[in-house]
């Protein structure tokens, strides 16, 4: 299948403006004749649903949570990037574009990334107008801080709860449209399949999570804003309910899945404490502004945070500052994570498990005073103390990398449309802007860029030609899709095996973390593929799902999601096997520089790997979208 990225012609800086002009418009009076389904209410979904409704479209918005405000965008802590250059430190749209392309290790599309940088400034304006209480200076102007992979301060923030405040801004805009009747909200409702009519997306099948009722919803276009699939690793910083089901079902209906193996392992998370662990908690990257990362120069097994305080300076290795003097502790996430793994593999890890490094604030507290640290990071320090039981004002934090974000996702063109006409994917759900590694504070930027400022323009171009007619939910396409969904649920309920859904999910997670995690080899991937197949087979023979469909049923919900993770996992392995280079967060041990950095092989792998589903049990077809770089020169990334 040939993939057309539909990137407009012309100079980089003019593409988006020209494209907006060339896109067809829908007359304001005609917009009300179109129905659009938006699945998900995070930054992408809520901002899209609100903006589309403001334009006059009829929107149906779905979320599995009890309220749209609970989508996991809410948990983003540190901030949102924008090229405002309020700090007069040399920032510009071009620099944000460049940093993002470089940070993504040259595996993203230039035109998309430039557009992202371009609309970033409007996002901040929009959020301020909504009443988002960003941090301010005493003069009343907005404050900024720095994030990894950048040498300017361009990150806007609201204490350690930026995601919460941005999401509540989008939620308030969405709520306004719900109140006006322009958005019909379906909470506690999960999308279980995509429906296609005449080769186009025509609706979705959902399950009401309270009553179990399977329902059909028809529309002129379907927008997936369903987030990432980090929970394939079982332990991640994602919410417990975050899942791949909507995206995966769309994939099985024909949407290409791009770069599935590109996973972001975040360097600063609270380490795993035991088998009982259900999820991992992130400590914001913003902490790396003032915290210094170190391990002892010589291995000290079981070194506690309390004892670390007494360790003299000359016995400490501030390894990021040593190896990367110009970026220091603010190297990009993939680099920081891999370095943490390296020092722990050398036996210099700390804490009872040896799988942790220190993040130390003592210098910052001495320099700025405790009050300044409380002001900047108070809630994060409290959160840490709550979970870990240590007081980070007195002893260093212990951190370790954890799965956080997935750069891969549904393949989309410049219009954010998948290869299925009428099916769009926005936010983390798509693959488009972050290449092989996302920079900190860029996820919020992308979610809101897609929802507020990109999709509302591009979707009109499709709808203008698509006509007002909607497929009937009584049509064979809907009835068949409902039948497939019901049969799968019946099957899950009838197995009545011996192991719980979590038993399988944990098993899968261990395979993924050990073999498809921070370092990947030909052998580890081969092994993973076999093991995943075995777990999947065992799942369908031996899983125990209790209760019935016609009630609230948490174990059924989980089973449905884990069944899809078990399929996606294998595609992640295929993708990682295919890409024999290292790039960004995808580290193939076979491809590294002498200094142990990720070594790209541009001649062979400068493409987006978009996978096409071929049916149950069959290997997928790899479609390549070559990446064309007209504006940046591909170099070995260096943060030294």
């Amino acid at each position: 299948m040939a993939l057309d990225s539909k990137v407009p012609e012309g100079p980089l800086a003019e593409k988006w403006t020209k494209h907006k002009f060339n896109s067809k418009l829908v007359n304001p009076a005609n917009k009300r004749k179109y129905d659009i389904i938006v699945v998900g209410t995070g930054l992408g979904g809520a901002s899209a649903a609100a903006s589309l409704a403001e334009l006059g479209y009829n929107v149906k918005n779905f979320c599995y949570q009890d309220s749209p405000r609970r989508a996991h965008s809410i948990a983003a802590q540190g901030g949102i990037n924008a090229a405002k250059n309020y700090q007069n430190d040399g920032d510009s749209v071009y620099r944000l574009f460049y940093d993002t392309i470089k940070g993504g290790d040259y595996r993203s599309r230039e035109a998309n990334v430039y557009r992202l940088a371009e609309v970033s400034n409007e996002i901040i304006d929009q959020c301020v107008a909504q009443g988002v209480p960003f941090a301010r200076e005493y003069g009343g102007l907005l404050d900024n801080r720095s994030f990894g992979g950048a040498q300017v301060s361009r990150t806007f923030y609201a204490r350690g709860q930026t995601g919460q405040q941005l999401l509540l801004g989008a939620y308030s805009a969405l709520s306004r449209q719900i109140g006006k009747g322009k958005v019909e909200l379906h909470d506690r409702t999960e999308m279980l399949d995509l429906v296609m009519t005449d080769g186009k997306a025509s609706g979705i099948i959902t399950r009401n999570l309270i009553t179990g009722k399977i329902e059909s919803h028809s529309a002129n276009a379907v927008v997936l804003a369903t987030g990432g699939y980090g929970n394939v690793f079982f332990l991640s910083t994602n919410a417990m309910g975050s899942n791949t089901t909507a995206a995966w079902r769309a994939h099985k209906k024909g949407a290409n899945f791009a770069n599935p193996s590109f996973t972001q392992i975040h360097p600063t998370c609270i380490p795993v404490s035991g088998e009982h662990q259900s999820k991992l908690t992130l400590m914001s990257e913003s902490l790396r502004n003032d915290g210094r990362i170190w391990v002892p120069k010589k291995a000290i097994p079981g070194l506690t945070a309390a004892d670390a305080v007494k360790l003299p300076e000359n016995e400490r290795d501030y390894y990021l500052e040593r190896r990367y003097p110009s970026f220091g502790n603010l190297v990009p996430r993939d680099v920081a994570s891999r370095n943490a793994k390296m020092v722990c593999d050398e036996g210099r890890g700390v804490g009872s498990t040896g799988q942790a490094v220190f993040l130390d604030f003592s210098d910052a507290i001495n320099r700025l005073g405790k009050d300044a640290i409380v002001e900047k990071y108070g809630n994060l320090f409290d959160m840490y103390q709550q979970i870990q039981g240590d007081n980070p004002y007195e002893v260093p934090m212990m951190i370790y990398p954890a799965v956080h974000y997935t750069m891969g996702g549904l393949w989309v063109d410049y219009n954010l449309m998948t290869n299925i006409p009428g099916l769009y994917a926005i936010g983390e759900c798509n693959f488009s802007d972050h290449g092989a590694n996302r920079l900190g504070a860029s996820a919020l930027m992308q979610g809101l860029a897609d929802g507020y400022f990109v999709l509302p323009y591009t979707i009109g171009d499709y709808l203008a030609d698509a006509g007002y007619e909607k497929a009937s939910t009584d049509s064979a396409a809907f009835k068949n899709a409902e039948k497939v969904v019901k049969e799968r649920i019946d099957k899950l309920l009838s197995i009545n095996g011996t192991k719980t859904v979590d038993d399988f999910h944990k098993e899968l997670g261990k395979v993924m973390w050990n073999n498809v995690g921070m370092a990947r080899t030909e052998a580890s991937l081969k092994e993973a593929k076999e093991q995943i197949k075995a777990i999947r087979e065992a799942f369908w023979k031996d899983v125990k799902v209790v209760g019935t469909n016609e009630e609230m049923n948490l174990s059924l919900e989980k089973a449905n999601r884990v069944a899809d993770f078990l399929e996606l996992a294998e595609l992640m392995v295929d993708d990682a096997q295919n890409r024999k280079e290292s790039c960004g967060g995808h580290f193939r041990e076979e491809s590294q520089t002498e200094e142990g950095e990720a070594l790209r092989i541009d001649d062979a792998y400068s493409y987006v790997a978009a996978w096409q589903y071929n049916g149950e049990g069959k290997e997928e077809t790899l479609n390549k979208e070559e990446l064309v770089f007209e504006n940046v020169k591909l170099t070995q990334r260096s943060y030294k």
Binding site: R136, A158, F453
Partner: protein, 250 residues
């Protein structure tokens, strides 16, 4: 550690519901409270019994989904945290633990510990926003906002919408929740244009949804996991009164 758990079980909204007792053993003090329930649920599932249903999602204290009354306290015995942030080290070995859903008339039980909190969304839909469409907004630095006002707005905006205030209030009032939003937007210049209407509409819907009135007991502030202050209720009352005296709607 070993614990005896008394958990409220209720099949659905029409079921009467009652406490069931479960014994859990080998609990680690490093385990979170919800992870302790996860293990109980895995055991129940293996035995073919229905697991205990409860709302939860982010498990880091910010989404506002988790909602349990533990030994009589919303979100458990410790202050300023949500249920998902509570760890078993906060309990002593052998301690008996009673777990109930939020209990308030506007929050009917859906199943076990899961309740319907959509009335809170409807309060926001009534006016908890600034009426700006996407696009065409002024530059973010066009209107300077004094730091102390931005900080006050942020203090209020931290509300996670969990409903602990309602569950704790003897009147099942949603005043702390409603006031936090009224207050956030009242102190910011962006919210100024609609402040009178907003206060009137949100409080009207709060009453329509069956939440009780505020009698300034202050229990909500004590149990609020985000420490939202009663000052915001005072400000919301002022907003409401001044709206009533100056209403354009009369």
């Amino acid at each position: 550690m070993n614990h005896k758990l008394n958990i409220w079980r209720q099949k659905n909204a029409n079921d009467k519901g009652k406490f069931y007792t479960y014994e859990v053993s080998g609990v680690s003090p490093d385990q979170s409270f919800l992870e302790m329930i996860d293990e109980l649920n895995d055991d129940l599932t293996r035995k073919g019994e229905d697991p205990v249903h409860f709302d939860h999602d982010c498990r880091e204290g910010i989404c506002g989904a988790c909602s349990m009354v533990i030994n009589g306290h919303a979100h458990g015995p410790k202050g300023l945290i949500t249920t998902c942030q509570l760890h078993m080290r906060s309990f002593s070995d052998g301690e008996e633990i009673t777990i109930e859903p939020w209990r308030a008339k506007p929050f009917p039980v859906i199943k076990d510990l899961v309740v319907d909190r959509t009335p809170m969304d409807r309060i926001i839909q009534a006016g908890g926003y600034v009426s700006v469409n996407t696009g065409g907004t002024p530059d973010a630095n066009a209107i300077p906002i004094a730091k102390h006002l931005a900080d006050t707005a942020m203090d209020a905006a931290q509300c996670i919408g969990c409903g602990a205030c309602v569950a704790t209030c003897k009147n099942a009032s949603a005043m702390l929740f409603t006031a936090a939003k009224i207050s956030q937007l009242a102190v910011l210049p962006q919210g100024n244009a609609e402040r009178a209407n907003r206060a009137e509409k949100m409080i009207a819907v709060m009453e329509e949804e069956g939440f009780g009135g505020c009698t300034n007991t202050g229990a909500c502030e004590v149990e609020c996991p985000k420490g939202i202050s009663l000052e915001h209720i005072a400000r919301a009352h002022r907003e409401y009164m001044s709206a009533k005296f100056s209403s354009h709607n009369v």
